[in-house]
Symmetry: C2
């Protein structure tokens, strides 16, 4: 039996857990505030304490705990375990030696991976994409990220850039994106894009119950509120999710013709909307792809929920560890 | 020294050659008309004769000739060496056992591969993409096809479907495509799409020299004529190639964010237009991708020209042959 720690370094919370590498079960799980404004040294100290607490409290003999995987939201130097740029963190963490620092504090080998690639890897190993040979994961939250499993291997691409599918351009003249570009799928289907469609519907005076649900306080409009309106039968709210689904469907269709996945996993907070989002995704794929049959391609919701990042980064550590000599702590 | 035969099964011509697997040099090369209307049995008999002629006339000892790769334009069952559907061939060749038939006639192991995947593989092994780790090839001709080399391996995808990038949808409401869909990149940037833009310019009475070049006979408009006008400084003709390049650039940008290639190879007959096509491709990639730097990504013209398919399918045969026991002729 082998165990690995997985840690999800989020802008709001640090989540970490001990994962049974055979079953994918998460044994201990702790979530604490990241408090990113304190800077990377303080965050890494908190992370190391969290991980050491989990190791100590788990009751698992330490020699069975083989390594740590850390999922981080941004560009990374995976080879050297350093962050290159975490755009949502104060100071952006340029060239922070996360792996070395955490390794020194825990005496375990540490491997960095992009947070959404970790989710992709987790869903493939123990979640909705289990058993897929070639899989594309699209995670829809504040942003849209993704990852590819190609022939049973996590595909990293040049500089680990593969999987930035949120910045697939659907319309070169479309809305401005946070990345500086225009018309990225993120501007049509992310959580904020869905909320903005709700704001627009109210501001334009469309006949919708979304406004009433928040006492006409625009500050309280979230994808969840729009989801609630849709579930109560509001046609404007349903159309908002339908449009978001169409944008994701176009992205998915273009991934299918280029990469040939057998499975598409839709994850992230927004994916909790379920069928009102999945249905337009599946419909759009069928409508757009005529060059070959898409009947056998599965479009499925993610299954590991908030644990996907922890499980995925732990399993990534196992994957990387297999390539290392057992006595080396750091490469 | 090892040699493999490569054969490019085209709708118009059958091209075959003997390839030195170490250098990529094509020793003998023969091209004969396919005469596809005679049916698959006649075409395969002609192919077998062609291949046996090359073997006999090459002067290479037969024990050094290890196998045959055949590139075919359509959907294939690679594992069993059968065609599934060749849309441009009379009868469409459903379930034709090409590998078994040619193997029986030549006494060599035979491997099938999609023609554009063969070009991709050839350009990667001995052409413009030599040395790339992760490469996307976009071949622009009558249609638009492609292929991916991922971590130094030809990526096939589910059912060998990966690489159908010509049917990436740029606009779900765009022009009807031959595949039955709408707004595929093929409708904006293939040879016929470029010719159609020239036809439209003349019909609309735009101020262009394209018409004069063909004595105002619309039947004679080809991408080559428009290229000639562009080279002579005609701004309408230049804009036609610019628009085609922008469409290819959008396709390339979306491949880059999803798959992370370090090299993009632009091939096919239309790519012979050179910089007037490559320049808008590179410009569009730079304009669209803001999420990470694209400075190090190479966008290069294909280098093997008409031999790419022959070299690529021969090298594919070598690749597949390495996985087989030497005494087995067919798996």
């Amino acid at each position: 039996m082998e165990y690995f720690l997985g840690c999800d370094l989020g802008g709001t919370n640090l989540r970490a857990g001990l994962v049974n590498a055979t079953s994918g079960d998460v044994l201990s799980l702790i979530s604490v505030p990241t408090i990113a404004r304190e800077g990377h040294a303080a965050v890494m100290a908190r992370m190391a304490n969290l991980l050491n607490d989990i190791i100590r409290d788990s009751g698992i003999p330490t020699h069975l705990i083989r390594g740590i995987g850390i999922g981080a939201p941004g560009a990374l130097d995976i080879q050297n375990g350093r962050t290159l740029r975490l755009p949502n963190f104060p100071g952006n963490w340029p060239n922070v030696p996360v792996a070395d620092t955490i390794s020194a504090a825990t005496n375990l080998p540490v491997y960095l991976i992009n947070d959404v690639r970790a989710i992709t890897f987790g869903e493939w190993r123990f979640g909705a994409g289990h058993g897929a040979n070639t899989l594309a994961c699209i995670a829809i939250g504040t942003g849209i990220g993704g990852g590819l499993i190609l022939d049973q291997k996590l595909h990293l691409g040049y500089g680990g850039k593969a999987g930035e599918v949120g910045h697939t351009v659907l319309d070169p003249h479309g809305p401005r994106c946070g990345c500086g570009g225009q018309g990225c799928v993120e501007t049509y289907a992310s959580g904020p894009a869905i909320a903005a469609m709700g704001l627009k519907a109210i501001t334009q005076g469309l006949n919708t119950s979304i406004g009433a649900l928040v006492d006409y306080d625009l500050n309280r409009i979230t994808p969840k509120v729009i989801y609630q309106a849709a579930m109560e039968g509001d046609p404007v709210a349903r159309e908002i999710f339908d449009r978001a689904g169409q944008a994701i469907g176009l992205l998915a269709a273009n991934l299918i013709v280029a990469v040939g996945p057998d499975t598409i996993v839709i994850g992230g907070g927004v994916a909790q909307a379920g069928e009102i989002l999945l249905d337009p995704i599946r419909r759009t794929i069928r409508n757009l792809i005529k060059i070959f049959s898409v009947d056998e391609i599965q479009v499925v919701p993610a299954r590991l929920g908030n644990d996907a990042g922890v499980i995925g980064s732990a399993m990534w550590a196992r994957e990387r560890n297999l390539l290392r000599a057992p006595t080396r702590v750091q490469d």
